[in-house]
Chain length 205, copies 2
């Protein structure tokens, strides 16, 4: 019994880590990994460089934490879409979720997983690869869900779940690029509808 349940020993942290991560996420989202300098980040987080390194490790560590937060927050529409009952509803929820997430007023336009780093020099190459893997994991999740749908007869025989999954991710990535360029939310919703027009009808109908 060493502690009086008064919290950790040592000088207490003078800032809220969650809020700091939230602000860091906005900076990485708007400016990309390379474009976000330590000065930009710490200014937005309202803390000093020292505090940032003590609390989060390094710029790259911070980026990974931010990406996790992004996955659970703005990009949580992916997980929700996977829970939809039919393949068509999964596809619909995924694409329209992407539109919503990339055009949310008050949040940066576009997708952190895309504009965070598509191309980079040597210093940002690790972040670029991290994001490529992140996007690829989304394809895998969709593919597994659609494979199940195919097994359940929710997709016509001869459908290719992996191809359909990558198709959805491709359109979502395009939506992210368009959103980053300032495309309006309504038009992107109509584009998502267009992309869903060719969705294969279930087998037994």
């Amino acid at each position: 019994m060493q502690s009086q349940e008064k919290g950790p020993i040592g000088r207490p942290r003078g800032f809220d880590t969650e809020k700091a991560l939230e602000q860091a996420m906005r900076v990485f989202w708007q400016q990309g990994y390379d474009g976000a300098s330590l000065t930009d980040l710490t200014k937005a987080m309202g803390i000093s460089r020292t505090s940032m390194y003590a609390a989060f490790g390094s710029k790259e560590d911070l980026f990974h934490l931010v990406l996790q937060r992004y996955t659970d927050g703005p990009a949580s529409y992916v997980q929700r879409a996977l829970l939809e009952p039919t393949a068509r509803e999964v596809a619909t929820a995924f694409l329209h979720g992407a539109v919503q997430a990339t055009t949310t007023p008050g949040a940066p336009a576009g997708c952190l997983g895309v504009q965070g780093s598509l191309a980079a020099g040597e210093p940002g190459r690790a972040a670029r690869d991290t994001l490529a893997a992140w996007r690829e994991s989304g394809v895998t999740l969709l593919a597994e869900r659609l494979k199940r749908a195919a097994d359940e007869g929710d997709l016509p025989a001869g459908s290719d779940p992996e191809l359909l999954a990558r198709y959805l991710m491709t359109v979502a990535n395009g939506i992210a690029v368009q959103a980053a360029g300032g495309a309006c939310r309504d038009e992107l919703h109509r584009i998502a509808d267009l992309a869903l027009l060719q969705w294969p009808a279930p087998a037994g109908r």
Copy 2:
């Protein structure tokens, strides 16, 4: 009559401007505007910093020249697609052309107009805006071509040429992101075919 038609006066340039621009294009394409340092660029171009500034002006000027070269070279499939006789053929040529251009062996994967700069800090903001305008001009070109198609009865009444144009650009942008992440050419061609399945049939059929 001062010159004997022996070329410009002064010490002649020791490098080929076209080849230098070609190499600079590859670097910007692979690493993005911010990720491409002057050292990276001049090393690939095989010239010194001084020569680069004397010949091209600045990093930003160089980028604009490179973008023009990219438009006339790897991205020339856009102009070619616009010349196709029917709206469906325009759409098909555009998307499959995008796949070819973003997955050409020996050239960087992806699209310079996308990964050149989607998000950036203050220094690269001008390049980012330049590329956003570049992509938007592509949408405009497609929209004008499809508007003509609508007038010619090549698209069903009630079609929205501007929406269809942005739809095509959205899919092409997604293809670029996928290509940058290493997606394979064949699969992207199949994805382009999927995206074209919903293309509206002409009116009089």
